[in-house]
Amino acid sequence: MDLSTLQHSPLESRHLAAGGKLVPFSGWALPVQYDGILAEHQAVRSACGVFDISHMGQLLVQAPERVDAAVWLNRVLSNDVSRLEPGQGQYTLLLNDEAGIIDDLIVYRREENAFLLIVNAARRKEDLDWLTRHAPPGMALVDRGMDHGAIAVQGPEARRVFSSMMPSGAFLPPRFGLAEFGEITVCRTGYTGEDGFELCAPAETLGDWWDKAVTAGAKPCGLGARDLLRLEKCYPLNGNDLSPQTTPLEAGLGFAVAWEKEEFLGNEALRQQRRQGPGRKLVALKVIGKTPPPRPEVPVFTTDQGGEPVGRLTSGGFSPGLKAGIALGFVPAGLHHPGTRLWIEIRANRYPAEVVPKPFV
């Protein structure tokens, strides 16, 4: 496999030394696993794991004096940043004019007029271009992710790991909170559904923080475990479940839209869709019985034979927690209610599946 054209994490030598298998992901060479996806999944659900998330973009928004960054961000993001005090963050969406999702991200208010956006690796350039195009004069937008990296420490023991790896005086911010200690930023978020935090640091010191987390008991975990963990919690993956052709209402992300705001990019198209109701919805599907793991692109049917597909899976895998195949996929509105029986087709065999409430676990 040719990894030479990819970007490299500051932690790459550590991944290789720990037996990590590097794969291309969103233009980066990152470990898909170390000693096993299931063992890594188990570590995060029952103890603690650490992930390299250096591929994620870290966009700093610094407004000039007399320009209110919150007012501007409220025009380009779907959620309401005016609800944030310094040190708080929220899940939000960057929408195009048709209300399609350019990216889903977390925005943190660092100071009254300074923000940090943690964005998806595959979208960092589109995000920066889109934001720059819609920015008022003088607004400084910098992707510091090029000389910074980040790790995510996740699991029920993340709090203990934090205490043992951080100097005294450092504190873990509350859920969705941010705290800055010198050159590092700690955010109480993650992509696994477990308690935990993400730590951003300059590339040259990130390895020390990784080593401290591992020494404190966090198991190195790769992209494979991360994908299963997020899928069990029904967190959408940009590029799979979300795209510029998908709206927040179709994706079930209406909670990240501040409808009371007068105006934001994409709001006209979105409000119109809200009045009419979206024609399709992203549902959670649990496959019944012993079946091959469902995977993206697998077609969805309403009958056990014949007919045309009514939708396709956008994410899928085998849930170790449920011991069953689980998936996310789009189906026409009306077929999205929990309890609806559908079929998926893998290698010309149909397998029954049921729409279930989100999340799976």
Binding site: V32, Q33, G36, I37, L38, G224, L228, K290, T291, P292, P293, R295, G317, F318, R347
Partner: protein
């Protein structure tokens, strides 16, 4: 990687053990490690006549699906039913409990066309 000296190998990573006229087939240690955790097996039907190199089974790991090829021609005479129920044996014991199926080898054929352990080591190194 473990490459037992008493087995023959296909370039597509199956191993084969000949006892009398029965060939037991499984997946090599190298292949199971590349696949990662196996969660589903689709094994051939008993009595099926297969040719060498024919796609006869599918192994699904948490990561991806992989096809398994018959290393020799003959008839499928046994499949590892307990393994289909709990496919983790492909990873934990690839040359023992992780065997996949048995073929009664067509008369006049053997394992001569398969790779020796040394040749297989060269393939995977």
């Amino acid at each position: 990687m473990n490459v037992p000296a008493d087995l023959k190998y296909a370039p597509s990573h199956e191993w084969a053990r000949l006892e009398g006229e029965i060939v037991t087939v499984g997946l090599s240690d190298h292949a199971q490690a590349e696949l990662t955790d196996v969660v589903f097996l689709e094994l051939p039907k008993l009595g099926r006549q297969v040719t060498a190199g024919e796609n006869v089974a599918v192994i699904e790991s948490v990561k991806s699906a992989s096809e398994i090829y018959a290393p020799v021609p003959g008839e499928i005479v046994e499949i590892n039913e307990p393994l289909a129920e709990d496919p983790g044996g492909v990873n934990s014991d690839p040359y023992g409990a992780g065997w996949l199926f048995r073929i009664r080898i067509a008369s006049g054929t053997g394992l001569d066309h398969l790779l020796t352990p040394e040749q297989y080591r060269a393939v995977i190194s």
